[in-house]
């Protein structure tokens, strides 16, 4: 009888064991390997890969580009997330009203999000091209500029340009999430607020926002992480240039690992990135949870 009960207790663990093993193989193994590589002098020019402790970390953190690249990554992720949120929230609120064709527009709005990153990053340089781009053409015709702007080749405009492409590509996800959140807010709350004399802004501030806060927090975290880890968009649009002005961590990891063949240093950068994101996201979630309590 006791043996039978023991088996019954173990059965659930047995059932999840295969998934745990698969997860470990898929996620844990590459992670452990990356950490191991970061502690070795691992280049693709020598089969001898001695243990060097934290030397790779010291080397990349001392490199002239490290501070710039780190700052770029933060700016790129933060501004992308912020503008995606503003656009996503505005569009979702607008489409939530009973306007004709809202459903069709809502589906069309999703298009940039379902588009592959490579397509987005090919379209945008064409739009912004100083030679053929319609953006420059429009600005010239409107008399706002006298000469075409090299959006992606200018140190002042390159980062805002790639962020714009990222915002365009990512805001529909916010629309999707916020729309789902809005549909869960009971109409009675708005009616009650209206009876109490709340105007539209007050209804938004005291009814809509508190009900959306969980969704907004989760979407903000996801959006930040996705932008932080995004390689395709910048790689195709600017390759991190001009100079280091749009180079972000994932791009630097790619350059170090696959162009300069410094796998140890690339792994150290990957570990630093992972630790930073983990700490940032964990702190943010803790902070917002405390605020909610």
């Amino acid at each position: 009888m006791k043996l039978h009960q023991g088996w019954r207790r173990l059965t659930p663990y047995g059932l999840v064991l295969p998934s745990v093993i698969v997860m470990c193989l898929i996620m844990l193994y590459p992670f452990v390997k990356t950490v191991e590589f970061s502690l070795r002098d691992y280049t693709l020019y020598s089969s001898h890969r001695p243990f060097v402790g934290l030397a790779n970390f010291a080397k990349v953190m001392k490199a002239e580009w490290f501070g710039v690249v780190f700052k770029n990554t933060l700016a790129w992720s933060f501004w992308s997330m912020l503008f995606q949120m503003i656009m996503g929230l505005s569009v979702a609120l607008f489409l939530h009203r009973p306007i004709p064709g809202a459903r069709v527009v809502r589906s069309l709005v999703l298009l940039p999000w379902v588009m592959p990153g490579v397509v987005v990053s090919t379209i945008w340089p064409m739009l912004l091209s100083p030679l053929f781009g319609p953006v420059n053409d429009a600005l010239l015709r409107l008399g706002l500029i006298q000469e075409p702007i090299t959006f992606l080749g200018n140190i002042r405009t390159a980062m805002p340009s790639v962020i714009s492409a990222n915002v365009w590509s990512g805001f529909p996800f916010w629309v999707l999430m916020v729309t789902a959140g809005l549909q869960n807010i009971p109409d009675e709350l708005y009616e009650a607020a209206a009876i109490d004399g709340a105007n539209k802004w007050q209804q938004f501030r005291y009814v809509t926002l508190p009900h959306l806060s969980l969704i907004l927090n989760i979407t903000a975290v996801l959006s930040f992480i996705w932008s932080f880890n995004n390689l395709t968009l910048i790689f195709v649009m600017t390759k991190g240039g001009p100079l280091y002005f749009t180079r972000t961590m994932p791009l630097q990891i790619y350059f170090s690992g696959f162009q300069q063949h410094q796998i140890g240093q690339a792994s150290a950068l990957a570990v630093i990135t992972f630790v930073f994101i983990a700490v940032a996201v964990f702190s943010y979630l803790r902070m917002t949870r405390r605020q909610e309590m």
């Binding site: 020019y45 030679l131 090299t150 992606l152 390759k239 240039g241 001009p242 100079l243 790619y254």
Partner: protein, 417 residues
């Protein structure tokens, strides 16, 4: 009776299945990875050579995987590290020695010793870049080199003659400056390795060097290098050579700008012919040698591709037979015909090199060429350092002299690590 019939049927079935299995076992499939895409015209002659090989060797089948250039090296490295490399692949000349050193490639000298076709002597000596510890790990395939492509109609319209030296090149650029319609010479700084080729052409013309022969010390502070650097930068900053947006233009876009008549000149290699034919078949273009600092003083870089058999290959013998077949002069000529110039000396005597004047001119240009610098694992880092300092000078953040001084410091630092 029924049982006997069933047994006979089973026996026949088994014999058929087994013989089919045996037949299937006799065919070895080798995996060949190339960076030539099958959508390119250049692939056609290569595919013909492979078909001829399979016909002559019915026991070997070649399975080809086409990988875009931008991902080619990283895919090979990832596959090698994962223990599943191809049997044979293209190898970029810069990677030949480092990858041999890292133990990825199979040494070929034993195969060469037993071969009636392949010998070290059949190649231009400079092309044997896959040598490490006295062993050869890669066989030279082909190389590109650079010439100036020009728009004949625009030259005629502005009465521009073929420039013979740097001064005449500047003069031609000045005459062809016609914004926003077209500009003298397309430039592209969007890609470090593209800039590395484009820029070092001018360094070679001026007898400059990036490092010493042992790759221990930078030579980028020497006047020959500094003058070439200054001239290259001033082509854009002082003489308005390039269409706007040059800072973001990469190799493919540079060809597009030339094809669309936004620039009257383009520095490129034999591969440009196919690209221009696709992008603008009506373009009236020609080629001439990139003018040097003085008349008749030409120069350009070579590089190109090698073949290597991967150490993790399970079909090395079959891969070698394939490699041996491609290396026959007539096949080497055909293989390289649309993309490169073959490194096999005798291949020049076979069509299309013996009959095509465009390729013939490129082949003659080889007399004025050399590699960017001696093969070294540090090349990608050095190429990036050059790219950064060129951009600094182009953006006006440093003078050319300040940029070359900083470059010398950077390269020496890279070499000391």
């Amino acid at each position: 009776m029924v049982r006997k019939g069933a047994l006979i049927f089973l026996a026949i079935l088994m014999a058929t299945v087994l013989s089919m299995g045996a037949l299937a076992q006799q065919v070895t499939t080798i995996n060949f990875w190339t960076q030539t895409l099958d959508s390119r015209a250049a692939w056609q002659p290569m595919a013909e050579v492979i078909a001829e090989f399979e016909k002559a060797n019915p026991d070997i089948k070649v399975k080809v995987e086409h990988i875009p250039f931008a991902q080619f090296d990283s895919k090979l490295i990832v596959a090698a590290e994962a223990g599943s490399p191809p049997d044979i692949s293209d190898i970029n000349w810069m990677n030949a020695k480092p990858w041999a050193q890292a133990g990825y490639l199979e040494p070929l000298d034993d195969y060469i010793a037993q071969s009636d076709v392949v010998s070290r002597e059949m190649y231009y000596e400079a092309a044997l870049v896959g040598e490490h510890d006295g062993q050869l790990y890669t066989l030279p395939q082909g190389t590109g080199t650079y010439m100036m492509f020009y728009n004949k109609d625009l030259f005629e319209k502005h009465g521009v003659a073929i420039p013979q030296d740097w001064n005449e090149l500047v003069e031609a650029i000045r005459k062809l400056y016609n914004p926003p319609h077209y500009y003298g010479l397309v430039r592209g700084f969007g890609d470090a390795l593209y800039v590395f080729d484009d820029f070092v052409n001018f360094v070679v013309q001026n007898d400059g060097y990036i490092t010493d022969e042992a790759v221990t010390r930078a030579r980028t502070d020497e006047p020959a290098f500094v003058d070439a650097f200054t001239f290259y930068v001033e082509l854009v900053t002082k003489h308005n050579a390039a269409p706007p947006g040059y800072m973001e233009v990469a190799s493919a876009q540079a060809h597009t700008l030339f094809a669309q008549e936004k620039a009257a000149m383009l520095v490129s290699g034999p591969w440009a012919r196919g690209m221009l034919a696709t992008e603008n078949p009506d373009l009236n273009w020609g080629i001439f040698r990139i003018p040097g600092p003085e008349p008749g003083k030409y120069g350009a870089v070579v590089g190109g591709w090698q073949f290597g058999i991967w150490k993790g290959s399970k079909n090395k013998e079959a891969a070698w037979r394939f490699l041996e077949f491609i290396s026959r002069p007539e096949n080497a000529a055909k293989w390289a015909s649309q993309l490169n110039l073959p490194w096999v000396k005798e291949a020049r005597n076979y069509p299309p090199f013996s009959t095509d004047s465009f390729l013939g001119e490129f082949a003659e240009m080889l007399a004025y060429t050399r590699f960017h610098m001696p093969a070294s694992p540090k090349i990608p880092e050095i190429a990036e350092a050059i790219h950064i300092e060129l951009q600094m000078a182009l953006l006006g953040m440093k003078t050319p002299k300040q940029a070359t001084d900083a470059l010398t410091q950077r390269i020496n630092q890279i070499l000391s690590n």
